[in-house]
Structures are given as C-alpha cells and as structure tokens.
Amino acid sequence: MARDSGGGAEQKRRTPGKQDAEQEEAQASPDIQEKGEELKEELDALLDEIDDVLEENAEEFVKQYVQKGGE
C-alpha cells in the first residue's frame, strides 16, 4: 500500500538486464538443468494428455460449432 498514486506510467517495475544475467548463471547449474528437463517432460506429458482428450477431426468439429446470437 506504499505505492504513490497516479504515477503508473513513469514507474519502472523491472530490471530486465539483471534478470537475464541471473538466468544465464542459473542455466550453468546442473541442478537447474535437471529441473529444466523435468519440466519439459511434464509439459510433454500434459500435451500428450491434451491430444488424447481433444475432439477428433478438429476441422469438422470447429466448423460445426455455429452459435446463434444471445444476450
């Protein structure tokens, strides 16, 4: 609650340079590398799972989804 009022436009809220440097450093660590591979495996598993639940014949399914107006 300490932010001043009305100055949103002028305020700098991040320091990209510093963050990038930190990221590079992080990539060098084997722990993080392992973590990165783990995350990729998780993502692959999720995308496979999504492939399994997606409707068959995407083009036809999307084409048939036609709604009347509402409200």
Partner: protein, 494 residues
C-alpha cells in the same frame, strides 16, 4: 455514497450437438434446463418486476429490441435451490448466479454454473435419442462472427449520477481485459489469416453507451432494471466481459470492479483526467496485442498502455481504501491486482496461472511449437474452443488445473455446495430455501419476489426488494419455524 456491492454474473453458454449440426439450439437448451430441473415441480419465473427496456438515462425505449417471449413458448425457466436462475435465453442455456456479497463467494457460484451445465448435459444424454450428446462451452463466441454474453451485475447507489459512472468506469472497462480476457483466435475476413486477441468480446463492441446488448453493443449498458427499490438503487448491468474459467480471474475482475464502483459512488476517481480519446477504438486495439505494449490515447493527449491505465485505478484504490475499514476480500483484491499487473508488464505469459487468455495463449504456443503448426491450423481453433468445455475430463482449462498449471481459489467442495445451497448473506438465501422447502406451493418467483399459492382466494406475494435482507440471519429462524408454506405466510404476516 458507497454502498454494499451486491453482485452476480449471468452466463449464456455455447452449445453444440456433435454430428448433428442442424439440431435446434433452442430445444437443446431447453432439454438441458429440463434435464437438470426435471425432478420436482418447476417454478415459473415472475416477470412482474422486469423492465429490460427502461433506460438508466431516464426514458423507456419505444421499440422492443428483446422481447421476453420465452415464457410464452413454454421454454424452460426455473429457479434453483441455490438461488440462481437457470433458463433458456434466445438459443442458449443461461445461468444467472444468485446475489453474492463478495467476489470470492461469487467465484464459487459462477463455477457452480459450470458444474450445473455439465450435469445437465450428462442427464440430457440419458434422455436424448440416438446417443446424441449436447456439449457445453463457457465462452462468448463461435469464431464465426457471433457473440453471446456474460453479464456482471452490481448494486449501485441511485444517487450516483449515471454520467459519472460512464465517465469514470469506461477507461477501467477498456483496460480490464488485460487480466479478465479469455482470449480467442480471430480470423481476418479479407485474407483468412488468424491472430490471437486477448479478449473474446472486445471485437463485438461498437459504441460507448447504450441500451442494446445484441447489436451496436455499448461499453456501458444503460439497462435500468434494478430488481430492487428503484428509489435507492440501480443495478449496473456490465455487458463487456468474457466468461472466465480461471477462478482468480473471476475474483479479480468482479472484485476490482466492485471497489472501483465504490470509488465512483464516493467521487474518488479523477474522471476528467482519465478520459480516453476514443474508448471503442482503444478497447479493440488493446485486445489485438498480446504483448500488451499498445498504447491508447487519452483526451489530454497522453498515450498509455492498458496496464498503465489499470495501475492508475489500482493506485487510486489503495489511496481510497487506506483510511477506510476494509474487508478481507478488498485487501486480497488489491494484492492480486498488483501482482497480476506486475507480471503482465514483465511478460504476459508469466500471468498464465491466473489469467485465462495468457493460459490459453501459452498452451496454443506450446502445441504449435511441438507440432509445427501455423496459427491457422484447425487444431489450435479446437484448443481455443475446448479450453471452455465444461466437462471436467475434457475441458482443457480443467486439464491445466489438474496438472497444477493454474491457480485455484476455492475448494471443489465449496463449488459442490454452491450447486445446491444458497449464499447465506443476501436475499438469495430466502429464495433458495423457499424453493428447497415449499416448491409445490410456489406459483412463481423472481429476483425480488416469491409468489405462493397456498389455496387461498388470492396468491400471496412475498416481496424481497432489499437484496441485503432475506439472509440466513434474517430468515433462518422463521423458515425453521415454518414446516409448510402456509406456516411461513402466517409467520411472515404476524
């Protein structure tokens, strides 16, 4: 003067019958509502206090843009024991949440709507011929030029000039989509190319203020139908917003708007300074840019991003609430509002856990990267649609939630409870409880009245004009002391 923000969300759901593209959507919608409410007697909706043509600017529309003829056609239109209205509106099943006093409760009741639609589809499949299934989507466009609505409602002090609401709220609604948008792929009619927009509804808005909801949609809707004492209240009918799957997004979009409305009632927004040069153009420009770097022009000539417009509202809200007694939810809204704006400015995809459009956009990018797809690929259009499927095992939002990739706000048990139980702290409590206990003796019911038929010569109308009365605190005792509707009427009259 700032008043308690009673709030609710109405959602028209999209429906399709796979393999039967020519099936009648009105009948399919009816089937859904009837399948869910089939058990027990159906209670008719009471239209007496409805006046959708009354305009907040002080006149009544001469013609009827939307005729409430549904009831004449005998279409499904019921009240649920949780205090919600569930009915067929045009060619869609619509769920109108019960009145809630805080955005967190509203999240539970809005999510309860998804569960009710999913259960309706499951029951309808058992009734439907030939194993046909109706599939239901909580979204706002079919991607072919048609939109259907998600409307939020807020109780506002009648003494607040409507012109002030228009002035002070418009820049907020134009920029709110950065965290409230559900995102969609939009096809260019000229060259067939496809681009991602951060909000589904923004492209469908054409004017700044007006009474219409189906054509020439306005950023500020003037429908003046308070469903409450018209001398004291208006009900602001906010038609510009997407249906959200993400619980945090529902919480934040309604919570932030509730705080902003309190500020407007108290004259705490520097409205003149914040005016946009062209709100409709700004709305569309912001929607088209998932990097959120697009700037829009204010009347004073300054150009700001949508996030910057939101920071101004947030900063003003902090100042406004600093010296006031705040509730838990208001504190949480301020914290979440700040957190999401910081993430969105850093990298919009970092907000994917709490922002629907970012979540969906990220998923589309991941699928496109893995499969080597162009944005025009039908598979991505399907992802766009199926993100909103209300079936827990098929809806992609739910798959992301199950994988821990989105943040949830309410426990599943709270949602399950909200399917059947009314909120305790508004008149929805009395409505829902009466429905649960005395349905056979209820001739009709609406937002602000219940009409009983207890075998007397005339029907007995119980008015509920004050949304903050009829709560558990006010009425649980009299309901408990009234085993029958006759008892209830007698006890209320004594």
């Amino acid at each position: 003067m700032a008043i308690t923000k009673v709030m609710g969300i109405e959602t028209e759901y999209g429906i399709t019958v796979p393999g039967a593209p020519d099936s009648n959507p009105v009948l399919a919608s009816s089937l859904l509502v009837n399948a869910f409410s089939g058990r027990g007697r159906k209670v008719r909706w009471d239209y007496e206090e409805e006046s959708p043509l009354r305009d907040a600017r002080g006149f009544e529309a001469a013609r009827e843009p939307e005729t409430p003829a549904e009831d004449d056609l005998g279409l499904a239109n019921v009240i649920l024991t949780n205090g919600a209205r569930y009915y067929v509106d045009h060619a869609h099943p619509e769920y109108s949440s019960p009145e809630c006093l805080d955005p967190r409760t509203l999240v539970a009741y809005d999510k309860a709507g998804e569960r009710i639609l999913a259960e309706s589809a499951r029951r309808a499949a058992e009734l439907a011929p030939g194993g046909r299934r109706i599939q239901v989507y909580k979204n706002n466009t079919d991607g072919k030029g048609t939109s259907y609505g998600t409307h939020e409602n807020f109780l506002v002090d009648r003494a607040t000039p409507f012109a002030r609401i228009v002035r002070d709220l418009t820049p907020f609604l134009v920029s709110r989509q950065v965290f409230a948008g559900a995102g969609s792929l939009v096809r260019d009619h000229h060259d067939g190319s496809v681009a991602f927009q951060i909000a589904q509804r923004s492209q469908f808005f054409e004017v700044e203020v007006g009474l219409e909801t189906t054509l020439k949609r306005p950023i500020i809707n003037t429908r003046d139908e308070p469903h409450a004492d018209p001398e004291r209240y208006r009900r602001l009918h906010v038609i510009i917003g997407d249906a959200n799957m993400n619980e945090v997004a529902i919480f934040l979009k309604t919570g932030a708007l509730a705080i902003v409305l309190n500020m407007i009632e108290d004259g705490a927004i520097p409205g003149d300074e914040w005016q946009l040069a062209n709100p409709v153009q700004a709305l569309r420009a912001v929607a088209k840019d998932p990097t959120l770097r697009t700037t829009v022009e204010r009347k004073d000539g300054r150009r700001l991003t949508a996030c910057e417009l939101q920071w101004h509202y947030l900063d003003a809200a902090k100042t406004y609430l600093k010296d006031r007694e705040t509730s838990h939810w208001q504190v949480e809204v301020l914290e979440r509002w700040e957190a999401v704006l910081a993430l969105l400015e850093e990298d919009p995809l970092k907000a994917a856990r709490t922002v629907d459009w970012a979540s969906k956009y990220q998923l589309m990018q991941q699928i496109a990267d893995r499969d080597g797809l162009e944005w025009e690929d039908a598979k991505l259009a399907l992802v766009d649609l199926q993100y909103h499927d209300v079936q827990l095992d098929k809806g992609l939002y739910y798959r992301l939630a199950a994988a821990g990739r989105v943040e949830r706000l309410v426990a599943e048990q709270e949602i399950t409870t909200a399917v059947t139980e009314p909120p305790a702290d508004t008149r929805a409590f009395f409505r829902g409880r009466c429905l649960a206990r005395y349905a056979p003796q209820i001739a009709a019911a609406g937002w602000d009245a219940i009409i009983f038929d207890i075998g007397r010569e005339t029907l007995q109308r119980v008015p509920m004009l004050e949304p903050t009365r009829g709560t558990a605190a006010h009425t649980a005792a009299v309901l408990d002391a009234s085993p029958t509707a006759e008892d209830l009427i007698r006890n209320l009259q004594s």
